[in-house]
Subunit: 190 residues, 2 copies
Amino acid sequence: MTPLGYALLGLLARTPCSGYDLLRKMEDPVGYFWHAQRSQIYPELARLEAAGLVRHTVVEQTDRPHKKVYETTEAGIAALRNWVAVPMKLPFDRDTFMVKVFSLWLVSPQQALHLVRSYRADHAERLAQYEEIGRTMERDWEPAARRFDSPKFASYATLRRGIDYEQGYVSWCDWLAEAIEASAPSESVE
Amino acid sequence: MTPLGYALLGLLARTPCSGYDLLRKMEDPVGYFWHAQRSQIYPELARLEAAGLVRHTVVEQTDRPHKKVYETTEAGIAALRNWVAVPMKLPFDRDTFMVKVFSLWLVSPQQALHLVRSYRADHAERLAQYEEIGRTMERDWEPAARRFDSPKFASYATLRRGIDYEQGYVSWCDWLAEAIEASAPSESVE
DNA sequence: TAAGTCATGTAAAAAGTTACATGATTCT
DNA sequence: AGAATCATGTAACTTTTTACATGACTTA
């Protein structure tokens, strides 16, 4: 089983969903730290069902296409629980931007600054979104968000990691932009 | 072309290397933020060569198998330079650990603490390695590491991001462990 | 003598992306 | 009338991982 399977199981363990619902939860930044397309989600749901970890019921709707609503089985919850508890090795991280930065010495300071500043702006924007969601959680979810056995606590914890990650990225971009400015002749940068 | 192609180009633009050399540079954490196996590297080198971005010469060695030493062509440097300068969209991040954390409410506080603490320890260990490399760079590379047009500056910048990333992860693990302790009855945690 | 390093590759399978394919309803 | 949302899937392709395959030399 892949992380995707466990991600879907983790969403279904909270709320029964259709494939389409899962898709929406995973396609935008709400699915912090995992993401998938429908071409992965639909087959993965079929696989989970074949393995007895989820089951579905068809819900007929008058005004819309009917949908398959999936929910976890006992075996599904057990499989998820077991997987969650097992420590994992550190993965190799991949960051395409760092591949660019590694060869930054090949471009002009102007180009480098443009690259770094535009990436910084994108991270700052995502950070603002996460912070907004964080404020909503803190407002609406207390005290459940502090209770370890609540899914809300788990959601809040992943969001916090997202916020920290984006803040860290933004700070690093600022450091890098300053370092570029400091090392290049000022007229050529401004 | 994939990030892997540009990563290899970026390494070869600094120093000509054999496939085996590239492999070693990318397989352990020294290749911060990108990683590949030989089953990807050898075919990718062939593809880069077919595209005219690298070329190789066979170096015969008496005591060891001979090797193919690759170097970038003018076209290879140009392609890399162009790619580096173009801003990129924010990617969707993937973090398997966050998939676990999202379902952390399903396990016991003891299991959760064990999971978080062991992951924290691994990140702290990687952080220590990065910091050690950073000290070496700061000692041996000044002032080249401050000059924007030096590859050493670029290496130092990626390492700094690695250090920040690991520090952030460690801090977040600490926050999470404390939050778990704070929400669970103390006898059940100790 | 067993394990490790140097050296190059291929094969098969899994995971992920992009594009194809359909169709009703609702909002602008 | 056109775009967006709801709804489910498949096909083709690319990328990545894991395992297979070979062989000489060096160190413990």
